[in-house]
């Protein structure tokens, strides 16, 4: 089956500094889509980025990620973290078996300090 690995459980960063969240995956399928979801406290997870194109940079709300199939990675980055970025971030993938829904990583909590 598919699996998604997020290596950091907690990332702390000072406001204004860059932040990077790692995401790697394993799948046997060729047709896959990748997502970064963000979940603020007591709210629904909401999509931050989506990509299914190899080596293409995707950007939204100051965050960016590039799918690299050669290294099975979809890392999330932001050049300047804001206090409002404090949240739980999930990397997820969807393969051709739509019935299986999304496969999520364990999540990375980001805490931005002044």
């Amino acid at each position: 089956g598919d699996s998604v690995t997020q290596t950091e459980g907690l990332v702390t960063v000072t406001e204004g500094l860059p932040v990077k969240l790692n995401c790697t995956y394993q799948t046997t399928y060729l047709t896959i889509a990748f997502f970064w979801y963000v979940q603020y406290l007591n709210e629904a997870p909401q999509v931050l980025l989506k990509s299914s194109t190899d080596n293409k940079r995707t950007e939204h709300q100051g965050f960016h990620a590039t799918l690299h199939k050669s290294s099975s990675s979809f890392h999330l980055q932001k050049s300047s973290a804001q206090l409002s970025d404090s949240a739980l971030y999930y990397c997820a993938l969807s393969d051709h078996d739509y019935a299986q829904g999304l496969t999520f990583g364990l999540g990375t909590r980001v805490s931005v300090f002044p």
Partner: protein
């Protein structure tokens, strides 16, 4: 407003009771899901429902059962709750076949005493 709505927000019950949670989406999607988010924030698929076809994740205990009246509604019933059922249950919807974004509801937090 188009979105995914869930009720109740929060439910407290005792072991052995039956509970039901509701989910409605107004996004015009044809597929709905239930996920469980446990105390460690791990998110796992429980059910998917598309065109009257229900797909059950094999790890889901039989006391859980989804119920749908149409493609916009997918409710979740737990026949006899156990302490390990304490979690947040998230409903999501999407369109089948395009690996489209899934949109989530705010969740129902269940506490089993």
């Amino acid at each position: 407003e188009t979105a995914v709505f869930q009720t109740p927000n929060y439910h407290v019950t005792q072991v052995g009771n039956e509970v039901s949670f509701n989910c409605k989406q107004t996004l015009g999607h044809d597929t709905m899901y239930w996920y469980k988010q446990d105390s460690k924030k791990l998110l796992k698929i429980m059910f998917s429902y598309n065109n009257k076809q229900l797909i059950v994740n094999e790890t889901v205990p039989r006391r859980f059962s989804p119920q749908s009246s149409d493609k916009a509604h997918l409710n979740l019933r737990i026949k006899s709750v156990e302490p390990e059922d304490s979690a947040v249950y998230l409903c999501a919807s999407t369109n089948w076949g395009n690996q489209d974004t899934q949109y989530f509801g705010p969740g129902t937090r269940l506490l089993v005493l």
